[in-house]
Amino acid sequence: MQGGLVPFGIALLAAVLLRPLRLSGLAVTLAFAATVYLVSGISFESLTGSRKIVLLGLAAPVAAILLGLFNAAWMRSLLAAAGGASAIWVAQRILEQQQLAHMFLWGAGIALYAGWLVFWMDKLHDQPVRAGSAGLALGLGTGGAALFGASATLGMYGIALGAAAGAYLLVQMVTNNRLSCGRIFALPLALIAGLAGCLAVLGAELPWYALFPLAAIPPTAKIAPVSEKAALWLQSALLSAATLACAAGATYLTWRVAGAPPL
């Protein structure tokens, strides 16, 4: 309910209502905010890793709008670097407790993962169907894996992203018209999913190698040989099948290690 139905409904409404303003991409952040409110409340004291994810997730669309004023070639690399730095900040308290070698290893790993997702999702920001399919799988894959990895909160954050991206995709499938996308959709989605994955590895039981199939989702959505001329429902279905296979891989890897969630 909190992680699936509510964010799906809110994203559906937002995607439709904000369409004339070309702000349908905001659907993801609005849906995520609703889930955060219902699951844990919007509070930033004390500033734990999970709360830093919420803070960054809610700030990301504002940053995306501001960055939209610039269209420099280096913008994508800058965003990826900022995504990597965000991962370090989110995990800072955990990293500080590690031995130096582990601190650098884990720090570099999570920065690379978050930066990678931001970079590749940014490459999809002008392709709404591919971005929606990637968002659907990235959200559900991160959420499912985090849920099996013993963190229901991070799990619901991820599933909320997947549900929101699913609603965004559904509007395009039903109307056969592309919605506006942009960084306002891609940046928060990549950032929240990436950071939730990192925190689930460091703070819960998500195995680090489960991040590889998740990292493959945006590139898969980018390069999957699906004709842009095909009907949008067909494009969505084919792209989602390819990306959801990656998400299923991540969830399966976590389930093998951690077993079923302790409900």
Binding site: E45, R93, A150, G259
Partner: protein, 188 residues
């Protein structure tokens, strides 16, 4: 003049020398923190933290003292490993980010020569709140096994986990947590 100042300093120091606190080190093998919490309205679940450390000072004559206890949040144990993993996760005790739960006393109230309650600050998940422990048991003496002098105590407290930002699964999993401390500490 110098002699008079020295005498004044000596006299001022006398009460402290006469009421010097005894310091104790917590015995981790006999010190545990238990907790109980309502599960979905059906039953009361029990758990405990297996590892803790700390220092105690006591001066029954002056009726004061101090307690500092540090509990390893990653040592939480409920008899079911999968649930323990969940309790260590960011949903609950967030052990990776906050490896310690601490209690630091600010005032010990005595009833006669025996501590009756301990006021202090509990820090959980980076949030510090005042908590009062009610002392249910207090005994001192030589340990019959190793002959060392020690004190032991039991104490209880009630907290709301939401006060410390632990809000996962509320209200299905209860908000009220009863804490029970069993402490033994050897005289240094």
């Amino acid at each position: 003049m110098l002699k008079r100042n020295a005498l004044a300093v000596l006299l001022a120091a006398l009460p402290y020398a006469a009421h010097a606190s005894d310091s104790y080190t917590v015995d981790p093998a006999h010190t545990f923190t238990h907790f109980t919490i309502n599960h979905l309205g059906f039953s009361t679940m029990h758990g405990r933290f297996d590892k803790s450390s700390g220092k105690v000072t006591l001066d029954p004559a002056a009726k004061n003292g101090s307690i500092e206890i540090s509990i390893e949040s990653g040592s939480v144990s409920t008899g079911f490993a999968k649930r323990d993993d969940h309790l260590k996760s960011p949903d609950f005790f967030n052990a990776a980010e906050f490896p310690s739960i601490t209690f630091k006393s600010s005032k010990i109230k005595f009833k006669g020569d025996v501590p009756a309650s301990v006021e202090g600050d509990l820090t959980l998940l980076g949030v510090t709140k005042p908590v009062t422990l009610t002392v249910t048991e207090f005994n001192c003496g030589a340990n019959p096994m190793n002959k060392k002098y020690e004190c032991g105590a039991g104490a209880v407290a009630q907290i709301k986990r939401s006060d410390f930002g632990m809000k996962a699964f509320l209200p299905a999993v209860g908000d009220d947590i009863k804490l029970e401390f069993e402490i033994e500490a050897y005289k240094d």
